[in-house]
């Protein structure tokens, strides 16, 4: 099954930058209530650069894996570079066709990043 290709399963089973967000000041959350996915993400920014990013929560393989990927995509980026991380970039990063019903899973992590971005402005 393409959807559960090795890299995605690896991110699902061993999510990167996953853990406690207590010491993050800038954080936000989002959920897909109908699925039961609920994620929270935090970023630390210093001199216009993302110095740390973490997420936590529960979700399906696709939402957890894609959120894990988003944290990797954000880490160490300047805010100018990170501004380009949007839905299209996320779908491209996943590299597999995502059906309409699974789009909201695949885009949950990046949706939180979009919310955080608004808080920066």
């Amino acid at each position: 099954m393409d959807l559960y290709r090795e890299e995605i399963l690896d991110h699902y089973k061993h999510p990167r930058n996953f853990g406690d967000l207590t010491d993050f000041e800038l954080k936000d959350s989002d959920r897909n209530s109908s699925c039961g996915d609920s994620l929270e993400m935090g970023v630390k920014i210093k001199n216009g650069k993302i110095t740390d990013v973490k997420f936590t929560g529960i979700g399906c393989a696709i939402s957890l894996a894609s959120a894990s990927m988003v944290t990797e995509m954000l880490m160490g980026k300047t805010l100018v570079q990170a501004d380009k991380i949007n839905d299209q970039a996320m779908l491209k990063r996943l590299g597999i066709p995502i059906s309409i019903t699974r789009q909201k899973c695949a885009l949950l992590g990046v949706a939180i990043w979009q919310k955080l971005k608004l808080k920066l402005k």
Partner: protein, 403 residues
């Protein structure tokens, strides 16, 4: 008992392949498939009789009107009601909204309450909450069975309406509606039965159980989407205002004085109705009648017992809902290890097995049971043990794919 092999042949869609495998359709609590007699009845109307009803004098309109009214009689008869107590709606949701807006809004006095349960589908919670009246919800046990002690406690002289599902779409729990109605009548409360999951699997006679309102959908009982019905007891009709207004539901309209509403069921059917839908739904009722509701329930009960037994053997799988098939319809709900219900459903789909995942429009129930989401395989007349076996095999695949 049912001849399932023969029944399967009536459903063209069951010959389909999904992801290279023969389709096993186990999402019947969401919507059911349509047999040839239903498809043919709709086609016959569309190709031979299509016209608006109750409006024209020409041949097609006369035929369409006669077919629509005879469909009403058939559908009403299916639940033991006379034709003039059955109103066609789009679905159960619209049926319940109709009762909330046209009856409850005008008949509840300040201080009076609506009593429901935590296991209801959202469509039997939200229309009542919109009224802004006091609502109470009867609790359930951890096995998903209605807590009748809690019901007795919450049912008081203030209760004006009891609104309860006959069978849960999420756990398959069959509620003791005869007892519920008897107790409700003692405090002079009216009763609405959400029968979206029961008319087609258990059968019901509205006169025997003596409810005031009963709502159901066509598409969950082999009929088309976009047609459903609500039973409105005659005495309650007299207390009701229109739901929507417009063509078809009036007898006289004036610009400078109040309109005179149509008498009977038409009063709640504003606008051109879904005639071909009603005809398809009547054909679906007849299909159930030919099989016999007692045979349908016996078949599904046996299959439920088999499904519960087979699923309970899978390591790491936890069944949700009653263990006893005599109080459970053909709804097999489970949580599988740490796997998210969506991932389970996706892998099952890759094996051609269609199940539902999520909270099944019952968030309060899931919250009460401490669950985020569940997987649900729901059965019908065209399912047999081989379908359950395919489900069990496909669940093996979940472990091998997701690890």
């Amino acid at each position: 008992m049912l001849d399932v092999k023969k029944i399967k042949l009536d459903f063209p869609i069951l010959r389909r392949q999904v992801n290279g495998k023969p389709l096993v359709y186990l999402d019947n609590a969401a919507t059911s498939q349509r047999p040839k007699p239903v498809l043919e009845a709709i086609r016959d109307f569309d190709t031979q009789h299509n016209a608006n009803v109750h409006r024209g004098l020409h041949t097609l309109s006369e035929e369409a009107s006669a077919m629509y009214e005879s469909s009403r009689a058939t559908v009403a008869g299916f639940i033991g009601a006379p034709a003039d107590e059955l109103v066609f709606t789009r679905n159960t949701t619209e049926a319940i909204n109709l009762v909330a807006a046209a009856w409850a809004r005008h008949n509840l006095q300040p201080g009076e309450e609506i009593l429901s349960t935590v296991m209801e589908h959202h469509s039997n919670i939200l229309p009542w909450l919109q009224l802004g009246v006091t609502m109470k919800f009867v609790d359930i046990t951890d096995e998903g069975i209605l807590d009748m002690k809690d019901f007795a406690k919450k049912l008081t002289k203030k209760t004006k309406l009891v609104t309860v599902g006959h069978m849960s779409n999420a756990t398959g729990t069959i509620n003791p509606i005869e007892t519920i109605i008897k107790l409700a009548k003692k405090v002079k409360a009216r009763v609405l039965i959400d029968a979206a999951q029961s008319v087609q699997h258990l059968g019901i006679d509205v006169k025997q159980v003596n409810c005031d309102f009963l709502a159901f959908s066509g598409h969950k009982m082999l009929g088309p989407m976009g047609i459903g019905a609500v039973y409105l007891k005659k005495e309650r009709q007299e207390e009701m205002l229109p739901f929507m207004t417009g063509g078809g539901m009036i007898s006289e309209v004036y610009l400078d004085q109040p309109a005179v509403w149509a008498k009977g069921a038409e009063k709640w059917e504003a606008g051109t109705p879904n005639v071909s839908g009603a005809i398809g739904l009547a054909a679906a009722c007849e299909y159930h009648n030919r099989l016999g509701m007692i045979n349908i329930r016996a078949h599904e009960k046996e299959l439920t017992e088999y499904g519960l037994k087979q699923l309970s053997r899978i390591k790491g799988l936890r069944l949700v809902g009653p263990k006893d098939a005599s109080i459970r319809g053909g709804v097999l709900t489970f949580v599988f290890d740490q796997y998210h219900a969506h991932d389970v459903a996706q892998v099952l789909d890759s094996e051609g097995v269609a199940v539902r995942s999520g909270h099944h429009c019952t968030m309060p129930l899931h919250q009460r049971l401490g669950l985020v989401s569940t997987s649900r395989a729901s059965l019908y007349i065209y399912n047999d043990k081989s379908d359950i076996d395919r489900l069990i095999e496909a669940l093996d695949k979940v472990r091998s794919v997701l690890g």
